[in-house]
């Protein structure tokens, strides 16, 4: 049971990470004024 959980969970974590970055960037591009750079 461990190997499939390990593989799918590992890939799921990566998906989550990339998806979070994607959402952050998309919202920042849509409304640049709402995000301060520093």
């Amino acid at each position: 049971m461990v190997p499939p959980i390990l593989v799918w969970f590992g890939l799921f974590l990566y998906v989550q990470n990339v998806d979070r970055k994607l959402r952050t960037l998309e919202s920042a591009m849509a409304d640049p004024a709402s995000r301060s750079k520093d």
Binding site: P3, P4, L6, G10, L11, V18, K21, L25, K37
Partner: protein, 246 residues
């Protein structure tokens, strides 16, 4: 895109169930636990494919110096390291259940560890260089250069006669028919799902890179989005000697 994700999720579930339903593979010390190979082998195939793809994209980046191609190259490098780590993790589990120890120091295990280190250095290199152009050139050169040791460590070294004799790795069991057609079906199913997932991840990662490029063009540095680049700001020395009075 949502439909594709749904199909992929369903396919992953079906493939995972299939790996548990199929009969145990004969020819292994623990036939029932040899099912780990359903996940280990496709991950290893993916890693090898991504190493080749990274080298090919590296050549393209060096030829064109295109930031768009560098984004694609970066996505491939990341995915290669991810699948390499998964191959190693499942291999260590296989070692424990079939050979009785987490780390056997088997030639195949050790050679793949070296491949994983090569992939990890590729990631570190990208994270360490702040200047985009230099990062693209160095990373692309590294991917091209890394192909030679990777080919040796993945395809040549484990097949040397004296290494094959010493190794516990079940390459021979697989080659000599340790897997029947049902097992092959399980392997192909998981491999197909991993390819589908890798394509999805690659597209997402490329989209992130493209947005970062756009952001940099319009707003400057993008380090606060976790791009991984080192801080390239300069700190100039300032004299702090007190001024002398008259």
């Amino acid at each position: 895109m949502t439909f594709a994700r749904g199909v992929l999720l369903l396919g992953m579930a079906v493939a995972t169930v299939l790996t548990f339903v199929l009969p145990p593979a004969k020819g292994f010390r623990e036939p029932d636990l040899a099912r780990i190979i359903f996940f280990h082998l496709p991950c290893a195939f993916m890693t090898s494919g991504l190493v080749f793809l990274a080298a090919w994209q590296g050549i393209q980046v060096l030829r064109t110096r295109s930031p768009q191609l560098d984004v694609r190259h970066a996505a491939t490098v990341e995915l290669g390291a991810l699948f390499g780590a998964l191959t190693m993790a499942t291999g260590i589990l296989f070692s424990k259940v079939q050979w009785g120890t987490w780390w056997q120091s088997d030639p195949r295990q050790t050679s793949f560890l070296m491949v994983l280190l090569i992939l990890a250095v590729g990631l570190i290199l990208r994270a360490a260089i702040g200047d985009e152009r230099r990062r693209a050139a160095v990373s692309a050169s590294y991917s091209v250069a890394a192909l030679v040791p990777a080919i040796y460590l993945i395809f040549v070294y484990p097949r040397l006669p004296h290494i094959t004799k010493e190794s516990f790795h079940p390459s021979n069991t697989i080659a000599q028919g340790g897997f029947d057609s049902a097992y092959r079906l399980g392997l192909i199913s998981v491999f197909a799902m991993l390819v589908g997932l890798a394509v999805l991840l690659y597209r997402m990662r490329v989209r992130v890179g493209q947005l970062e490029l756009q952001w940099e063009v319009t707003n400057g540095n993008v380090d606060d989005f976790g791009h991984g680049a080192a801080d390239s700001r300069l700190v100039r020395p300032v004299s702090v000697r007190p001024e002398r009075g008259p």
